[in-house]
């Protein structure tokens, strides 16, 4: 199991993903595995620190850097969950596409990247109280909850299964997503055009 978890972390290589080498990575009940919990706690710590970094920093450039850490560690969490395809898509689309788009947005919308938009202290305190209360409540609820359904260990699915399901069961949402992407492309080009 530990070896499989390490393979999963290195499973960026397409052949490993396609053949589903790292498919049975996370066994939910593997008391013997010590490496996997360690990797999880490291990745989760990076994810949590990055997420908190996003919300405490006032500098928009630093926010994007912290967001990169959060998105990357979320991709590593997907690898640990044996969702190799989602992890790869997360890295390609989110970290590679959306984040670069946000960086371009930052660069195009400020005279200087160090410009600050200050928030009133009272407002910050109120938001902090609300969010801390929410996160503590959610964590207490989630830790105490018992989930219906069995936690069973099955090998993770191959990428081919996702593709097959996407064009059979999920065909209509798939097509709608395609139409939506085309509409968004036209709309974004229209919004960003140069005024004559």
């Amino acid at each position: 199991m530990p070896l499989a978890a390490l393979i999963a972390l290195g499973a960026m290589a397409m052949p490993a993903m396609a053949s589903g080498v790292a498919s049975d990575v996370t066994s939910a009940e593997s008391p013997g595995g010590i490496i996997e919990p360690i990797i999880f706690y490291i990745v989760a710590a990076v994810a949590v620190i990055s997420a908190i970094g996003v919300c405490v920093t006032q500098n928009i450039v630093r926010m994007t850097v912290w967001l990169f850490g959060a998105l990357g560690s979320a991709a590593l969490l997907y690898f640990l969950l044996a969702a190799n395809f989602i992890a790869a898509i997360q890295l390609i689309v989110y970290a590679g596409g959306t984040l670069v788009l946000l960086v371009f947005g930052v660069m195009l919308t400020s005279k200087s990247p160090w410009v600050r938009y200050d928030t009133p202290k009272l407002e910050m305190a109120g938001a902090a109280v609300v969010c801390l209360a929410l996160v503590v409540t959610l964590c207490l609820l989630l830790i105490r909850a018992t989930w219906a359904g069995t936690v069973s260990v099955v090998p993770g699915a191959a990428v081919a299964d996702i593709g097959r399901k996407l064009i059979t069961v999920y065909l209509v949402p798939f097509e709608i997503a395609g139409v939506l992407l085309m509409i968004v492309m036209v709309a974004a080009a229209h919004l960003a055009r140069q005024e004559k």
Partner: protein, 104 residues
């Protein structure tokens, strides 16, 4: 403690959600609010993939819905950045408090 279960991933998702919520509530920069939205969408994705792994293994429904969330997030980011650039062209700032031209 040494067995990683569903709740571990859900706690990470909860922290992501609250961090994104706080970002959306406190930032004045429109791009900063967009970053908060991305964090919230990521927390949804972590929850979807974790539930898919632990409660419906092999069914893949959670993973496919997570794919749709990623598509929607990319589309939303593209449009929102376009709107922010237009806002900057018109007001020379992306401070959302100053985008009040339509107010009566």
């Amino acid at each position: 403690m040494l067995t990683i279960g569903l709740e571990h991933y859900l706690v990470v998702g909860a922290v992501f959600f609250c961090a994104g919520l706080f970002t959306m509530m406190t930032k004045r920069n429109a791009i900063g609010i967009l970053i908060g939205v991305e964090l919230v969408l990521n927390s949804a994705n972590i929850n979807l993939v974790a539930f898919d792994r632990y409660l419906g293994p092999g069914r893949l429904d959670g993973q496919i819905v997570a794919l749709f969330v990623i598509v929607l997030a990319a589309a939303e980011a593209a449009l929102a950045v376009g709107i922010c650039i237009n806002l900057y062209k018109n007001l020379s700032t992306v401070d959302v408090d100053r985008a009040n031209t339509l107010r009566g």
